[in-house]
């Protein structure tokens, strides 16, 4: 994808912040909260720079997130249990010397940390093993979602048993539409499948991802047991780290999505619009269109011509 520089992105974050302020008199606080949060997170994350790339392994209980973390780290850092759910708190594995990763991890709010000294291609990777998103332990979901919002890149781990769960698609992946560029989906435990089964499974999963609005996301097969797909996964991670712009990509995707959600002429009928104007009459709560476009232009003059600037929902490729 096009690399957006930090300066451009900072301007766009500032622009989003001023749009929020312009809209504040016209919209209820809860409708502005998501954009407010994006501004806050973007500024917080950008302060810590791109020395480290934060990648989270998110997914369902029993899908093998912790086993994957261990396989990537090359040693036992995360506890793998037989009873469910296992991981109740997020755990960070810092690849490299890691002496300066502290402030970033404090900002992320992850006190459980492990250092994996490495000088290879994964140097600079902060791998987070997240709690599950679908067990009876709802506090796990909250912690997972808090971090899913903050990390630079997401790897969603699912497995042959659970890849079609409503909790995965409706609860998680559909919320990430427009974030294809910062998302990877892996089908773990493929050692349980024959080759034909694996191919059929991946195809079915890809179709479902496309239904979720993630047409550009191609799922990858992996097995922490046999090691299948692990080298490729390492390569993909290394590629992301080498570019040093995963952080900027994430911030950009968030800002674009937040701006799109606020733009009344942008994304298709957000529920708040139809809620506020039953019968389809224009709501008086909105600023008039001329006021709106005026402010829109006024706060993004420099970014309108930037190649990286695209409306939400038109990203493709991953």
């Amino acid at each position: 994808m096009t690399v957006v520089g930090p300066e451009t992105l900072t301007r766009r974050v500032d622009a989003l912040a001023s749009a929020v302020e312009l809209l504040r008199p016209h919209l209820p606080a809860d409708e502005l909260a998501p954009a407010d949060a994006v501004v806050h997170r973007a500024r917080g994350r950008m302060r810590h720079g791109s020395r480290y790339t934060v990648v989270a392994l998110a997914g369902q209980t029993g899908s093998g997130k912790s086993s994957l973390v261990n396989a990537l780290a090359g040693r036992e850092v995360a506890a793998v249990g037989v009873t469910r759910p296992t991981t109740s708190r997020a755990r960070a594995v810092v690849f490299g010397d890691g002496h300066d990763a502290g402030p970033l991890l404090d900002w992320l709010g992850v006190p459980e940390r492990d250092l994996v000294p490495t000088d290879d291609a994964l140097d600079g990777l902060v791998l987070l093993d997240l709690p599950d998103v679908d067990s009876v332990a709802t506090d796990h979901h909250l912690e997972a979602h808090r971090l899913i919002d903050r990390v630079d890149r997401l790897v969603f781990v699912t497995d042959p048993q659970k890849y079609a769960d409503e909790a995965l698609h409706v609860g998680e992946l559909q919320r990430l539409a427009g974030h294809e560029e910062v998302l990877e989906v892996v089908l773990s435990q493929v050692d349980r499948l024959t080759d034909e089964q694996q191919a059929a499974c991946l195809k079915d999963l890809r179709r479902r991802l496309s239904d979720d609005g993630l047409a550009g996301t191609r799922p990858h097969a992996v097995s922490s047991k046999t090691g299948e797909g692990l080298p490729e996964m390492r390569d993909r991670l290394a590629e992301v780290i080498r570019g040093r712009h995963a952080m900027l990509d994430r911030v950009e995707a968030d800002v674009t999505a937040a701006a799109g959600a606020l733009d009344p002429g942008g994304r298709p009928a957000s529920s708040r619009l139809s809620h506020r104007t039953p019968g389809g009459r224009p709501s008086t709560a909105w600023p008039t269109p001329s006021v709106w476009t005026g402010s829109w232009r006024s706060w993004s003059p420099s970014t309108a011509a930037t190649p990286g600037w695209r409306p939400a929902g038109r990203h493709c490729g991953g």
Binding site: T61, G62, T83, R84, D165, A167, D204, R208
Partner: protein
Amino acid sequence: MSAGLPAALQSLRDAMADAPLALDLPSAADARRTRDRIVQQVDDYLLPRLARIDAPLLAVVGGSTGSGKSTIVNSLVGRTVTEPGVLRPTTRDPVLVCHPDDEPVFDGSGPTPVLPDLPRVRGEGEAGGLRLVVDPGVPAGIALLDSPDIDSVELAHHDLAAKLLGAADLGLFVTTAARYADAVPWDHLADARERSVALAIVVNRVPPDAGDAVTAHLQQMLAERGLQGTPVFAVDEEPLRDGRIGEAGRNLLEAWLTGLSADAAARHEVVRQSLDGALDSLVPRVDRVADAVDDQVRAVDHLRREADRRFDDAVERAEEALGSGTLLRDQVLERFREHVGTADWMDRLQRTVGRARDRLRAAVRGEKPVEEEARGAIEQHLVDLLRHTADEACLQVVEAWRAMAGGSDVLAGAANGLERSSPGMPAAAERHVEAWQATVLQLVRDRAGGRMALARGLSLGVNSVGVALMVVVFAQTGGLTGGEAVVAGGTAAVSQALLSAVFGEQAVRDLARDARRDLVDRVELLFAAERARFTGLLDDHATAADAAALREAVADVRQGRR
């Protein structure tokens, strides 16, 4: 249990099916689900089970997608009767497997079959019903039903799975070592617990040596949720042979199932437990629905009162406007002054002859008599005022309703154009105003009696006296401001003097009062029609009788069990 129980259940079911929950109140979604489940449960399970208490036991095999439900069923039957696969979710149509002896009970041919609305299909190719497989591999006295999953993205599966579990004498819940802590299945177990259906749980795909730990943890979770004592079967993960689970797991399950099959008393106990549980659970569930209907009744009541209030206010505002002189402007005054004049009307008295000539000339030229024009102007003003006030009230009700609980739902079901008065309103208003004017003239005729002679002496026809009376009605309560008020007040004073001269003061007061009352009655009538456009929308919604019918019906069921 008395013979009246099925009839009481049927009544409860019918009352339930009609329970009005159309408004999207906070309690509605859950209540609708409960309502639909109860209706289903009575049809699918309670009535069939009560009709044949000794019928074979129906074990519904339910659970998560990918947990191996079909594999478990196939392993128990001993051959592939339902197709497992790696693509999720697999089981599309439910499959019921029973022993040949039990076939007549499950093939849907009897008088009160279980799951009556699911057509039975037998061939491989047929779809869209309950596939019936008759196989001697299943022990007699127990049928197995392979149900769709409860948690895949195929939402239609969830409803069907819940319906099937509602018909179960025994719920055989299949999960896996990776899944047993998923949130969704536990919601279903909570439902199962509420109706006390007999349960057993199979944990499939348990990794080597993890069986004890997983079983212990699962049992602890069950106990924490009030399901202690539920049998748990752990099935080890091993390569499937011919699509069957390993022998150890199979033996365990088979022993349990054939045990139930051979032991009629144990089977009866399971049937009894689930039946009693289902009947017990009706009371709190029906109560929940009845409470939600109460919420609907309250919301409808609030909406109705809001509409009433707005239109009562509108009638009041119209009344005020009628008496405030606002109608006495422009043409009305112009025409009236032209006719009786604010100048000394006694002058006119002296120029009677000349006046009569003027009028004759006007008639020849085809000009409208001035009092006609004055009446037309009054009519136009009145109609405008009424329409404007009604428009205001309609918009107020729409806006108030939109902000009120359930209001948007009611408005969504209505035709467009509620924000203003009905298209027929101006015509109706005209008719009423014309009728009122006719009434005023009639009043003048009735009251005047011999005095009309005097009026005629003044060259004032009934029409002129009537217009004068209308002016008095509109000026009655004063409240005039500005220059117009002076003119209007002056005009009214002239009218009053004119009328008093003809009829006497008391008679004028009586006439004005009667004319005014008639007008207000008409305004109320007119606005009632506009109000009915709103209150009529509420007529199909819940009433207190609906909630009472539910509570009465469930009380009858309780009575019927004695």
